[in-house]
Amino acid sequence: MMARRAALIGGVLLAVACVERVSAPGACPSFCPSGQIQIVDTVLTSIIARDSAFRGYVTEPHAPLMLAADLPGIVDGRPIFRIKGFGPTFVLSATDTGAILGADSARLRLTVARRDTGAHNLSLRFYRLPSTIDSTTTFTDLTGPFTDSLVKTVNIDTLLALPGRKDTLTGDSVVVDTVNHVLVLNLKLDSTAGRYVGPTDSGTAAYGVRVSADSLASIALTKSTLSWQWYLRVDSAGMPVARTPALRGAAFASFVFDPPPPPPDSTLAVGGVPSARSILRVAFPRFIRDSSQIIRGTLTLVPAAPVRGAPSDSFVVEAHTVFTDVGAKSPIIVDATRTDTTVVRIGVSDTVRIEVTNLLQFWASDTTRATTLVLRAEQEAASFSLIRFYPSLAQAFRPALRITFVRRFPFGAP
């Protein structure tokens, strides 16, 4: 009897057990809520002010790449690097040190991080430079050595075309890294090109590189992977012995170029070498910040001149906000979720649009933040590419913000 009753109660409860499905297609306006999502799209032309540009954030010696280019009328860039030597003597063993008689040869390993695949007959020419090169060395300082001190020429296209991508006569080879999309050059310098001058220069050697091609000669060499291998001859109790010391990296790596960057003016410069950044102060309207939800924000910038740089060096312009606005040294917030970007192509002068929705939403969520935008190249000083925008002083072409936002939904209304 109890079982029957329990079954009865259980069955009834099961019949009304929890079920929920309330989602239905809307048949508007008859059977839809009276409140609607209201979207407003507006262009705010006067909220950006007190904008300025600054240069020198990343300089040639601190850039991750060495830029080589031979683009007449645009830029002539030449990497330079210095390899520290071992001095006049070499430690043969714990009890024996011998004078370095010279080098049989040397091997240079270079990584071509970027090149224009449209460039044909791409060649590198290596020049011996004074071992005194440093961050103050200019293009003009090296005009002489880059004219009369050629030690080696390598045609990369020829090397790539050889079986096994190896030149058995010169000892040069190239590896195509399809994963990282780079070329790794392994170059042999004979005893003349890779001369070891121990007594006067402590074995320090400095070289410069020029690039050439039928056209579009522009490459970037990675500094961090540059390595140098000496094959030395050392005097061991009157007998010359061969020694292969440890690999050496570049003690100094940079590049020189001509013409120099244009002097700072009222335009908003971004990119180039040394890298330039532009700072824009935004008077973020309260009626948008406080009572709306921003769904899209676009910063529009009008270039004051066509984008300058190597044709293959399209670059990414990033828009960041700052922790605090202290002018040129404002610390930027480097956070992928609060960074907006756009790609800028060389030579074009069209209006540049950067989607800054993430930044605007960030400002709306934290009203204590400085509403300052910093524009910079994604990889600073990694290309000669430079763009200059009209500033807010240029009334007709001033920067503007186009914001699409949603007003507060009328919750609670019948």
Binding site: L14, V16, A17, S30, I37, D41, F411
Partner: protein, 369 residues
């Protein structure tokens, strides 16, 4: 644990065990554009008679005068599950919902005075509307999907008292506190993800008050009539302590008749008017009626009834209409100290091109410890 105690526990825990511990009644697409879908304030027993016994039922929240004859402390709760097909322009959408629309406790505090407290659903505001459309933005037609939802209801918390003044006359009065909340969301997803998704939500709180009164008259042996009236003030909706809307609530009045030719047969009928038109545009005054019977005075009576009338909210110039037929039964346990009522209702609503067909299963538990 005594049998009655076990059943009492079941009354209180039953809805929770089945997941329906939400104070809401059966909802409708007709309520989306208005303040909500009005709830039904009847117990399972009354719902099974089409609502005809509602004015006389002390465990329904419709009137108070019927409380005067409550013999002892009595508690009831009900749960309903609705399976609703909403058809518009040839498209049918199947919807489901489980609700816990009524809890009532009544008892005698004096020889001539009985009181009751409980809640029922005043307006249900649970719906979820999805919409596909496009809008011209920045010179381009952007397609999007909207989803606007509301989840919650407004409860009618009633404190009522009734007194039998004479063998033929009983009166009652009630104070109603309207309280509730809904969690509302509005979302828009653009096909073009350059536009971020719009997501807004709010907790909307509702408050209001009302008073009611009723009079039960024994016209003749086995024949009773009842009249009732109720006036509610304004329903105030607040979002984050800011009043977002105020809706005038209706005045209501109704009456009923109960005829019991014998101890095992009862017939009833009722009619009600509700002045919802003052709630604003798109709202209508409504009339509703019901007729039903209960046959069998033993441990398992059979109940049936029909009801019809109008719905207060809908598009167009006339109020939507509804018609329902219901049937049910009950079973006494524990020497009559516990009652399990069950019913089923078939309802059809029409108006503005929308037709809703609803099957509702009803379960109620009543204990008299």
């Amino acid at each position: 644990m005594t049998r009655a105690t076990r059943i009492s526990v079941l009354v209180l825990l039953g809805p929770a065990l089945t997941g329906g511990a939400v104070v809401r009644a059966q909802d409708s697409q007709f309520g989306i554009r208005g303040p909500g879908t009005p709830g039904r304030w009847e117990s399972v027993r009354s719902r099974s008679t089409g609502g005809a016994f509602g004015p006389f039922d002390p465990l329904s929240a419709l009137t108070e005068a019927g409380l005067a004859d409550v013999p002892q402390l009595t508690a009831t709760a009900m749960q309903s599950a609705s399976y609703r097909d909403a058809e518009i322009a040839g498209t049918i959408t199947a919807l489901r919902g489980t609700r816990f629309p009524l809890l009532n406790v009544a008892g005698r505090v004096h020889r001539r005075l009985a009181i009751a407290a409980g809640f029922t659903t005043y307006l249900d505001r649970s719906w979820d509307v999805t919409l596909r459309d496009s809008v011209a933005l920045r010179g381009t037609l952007e397609r999007y999907t909207d989803e606007v939802t509301s989840d919650g209801s407004i409860a009618d918390l009633r404190l009522a008292a009734a007194s039998r003044l004479s063998r033929r006359l009983a009166i009652g009065a009630g104070l109603h506190l309207l309280a509730g909340s809904t969690r509302e969301t509005a979302e828009r997803r653009f096909d073009d993800t350059t536009f971020h998704t719009v997501q807004q939500l709010a907790e909307v709180r509702y408050s209001g008050m009302g008073v009611s009164g009723s009079l039960l008259l024994g016209v003749a042996p086995g024949l009773s009539v009842i009249g009732w009236a109720r006036a509610d003030n304004r329903l105030r909706a607040t979002v984050a302590d800011t009043t977002s809307a105020e809706t005038d609530l209706p005045r209501m009045a109704g009456g009923g008749m109960l005829f019991s030719p014998s101890a095992s047969v009862r017939f009833g009928g009722s009619v009600a008017w509700r002045g919802w038109a003052r709630a604003g545009a798109g709202a209508f005054d409504t009339w509703s009626w019901s007729a039903g019977a209960e046959i069998g005075g033993g441990r398992m009576p059979f109940r049936f009834g029909v009801r019809g009338g109008q719905l207060p909210f809908g598009p167009g110039a006339t109020a939507p209409t509804e018609f329902a037929a219901a049937a049910g039964t009950g079973r006494a346990f524990a020497q009559g100290r516990a009652l399990l009522d069950a019913g089923v209702e078939r309802l059809e609503r029409r108006g503005g091109g929308l037709t809703e067909r609803v099957w509702t299963a009803l379960v109620g538990l009543t204990v008299r410890p």
